[in-house]
Amino acid sequence: MALLDRLSALLGGGLIGLSATVLLLLSGRIAGISGMVNGAITFRKAEAWRWSFISGLLLGAALYEYGFAVQPTPRSTFAPIAMLVGGLLVGWGTRMGNGCTSGHGVCGLGRLSGRSLVAVLTFLITGMLTVFVIRHGL
């Protein structure tokens, strides 16, 4: 089971890389989701294609979850305040740092961008520290 999990993780990751490649090859755009959301919520006509990407993202996720998933994704709930605060920090941080796991992680590393490497290492470290503090205390 663990092996199958890792294989599907690798394959799923490969599809994400393919997605970024398709967008770059066809439209010349970087598939960074935080930038995608920031552009989409300007509601300008020139940015409207971002809504198509977001629609596709939902379609693709639904297609997997309800058509192909071996078992349904767990639907655990979480403290609402943690979701809101987490979201707030992610929104602030990704705009300030120009990207998230997809923009810096998938696309930036693929372009061998030094800025992206620094960003990825930084958010991996602070993410791990945060989980350490929450789960294991100081």
Partner: protein
């Protein structure tokens, strides 16, 4: 129209990939970040698969003079490692650790029909607009001082 189609196809691949790699389950992401607990390496495989593809494929794509449906590549031009990059990435990492969501998986997780990603995305949009507003304010402030 072509760009909408390209974005739609790319989005579908991205969403399916996130589902297949189990990244829409925030517990798997938190399991990866929890290096001192029962560490779950799944995210490393996802990142490995994704970057493995972009590292190779982007080279070929960026050798072209232009994309198929557009006049030019829209690539980030900044090179320098500045403070906003590091501070922003650090703040993002903290939010990621608190919630277990980053923007892509959070949007994809909307299809699960639970409140977690909805609340997260509300917070995320508010946070992003607040940051934008703060930067705009400080820039107007600077301009006024110059006058």
């Amino acid at each position: 129209m072509k760009n909408h189609l390209a974005a739609l196809i790319s989005g579908i691949l991205f969403g399916f990939g996130l589902g297949l790699s189990q990244m829409i389950d925030r517990d798997r992401v938190l399991g990866f970040l929890d290096v001192a607990g029962a560490w779950d390496p799944t995210l490393l495989f996802v990142l490995g698969g994704a970057v493995g593809v972009t590292l190779i494929a982007f080279r070929f794509v960026l050798k072209r003079s232009r994309p198929l449906f557009a006049d030019k590549f829209y690539l980030p031009t900044k090179r320098e490692l500045d403070l906003p990059l590091v501070v922003g990435a650090a703040i993002f990492g903290i939010g990621w650790g608190i919630s277990g969501y980053c923007p892509g998986p959070a949007i994809a997780a909307l299809v699960l029909g639970i409140w977690n990603p909805v609340l997260f995305l509300i917070g995320m949009i508010v946070g992003s607009l607040a940051q934008k507003w703060t930067v705009a304010q400080s820039q107007t402030g600077q301009k006024t001082e110059l006058r």
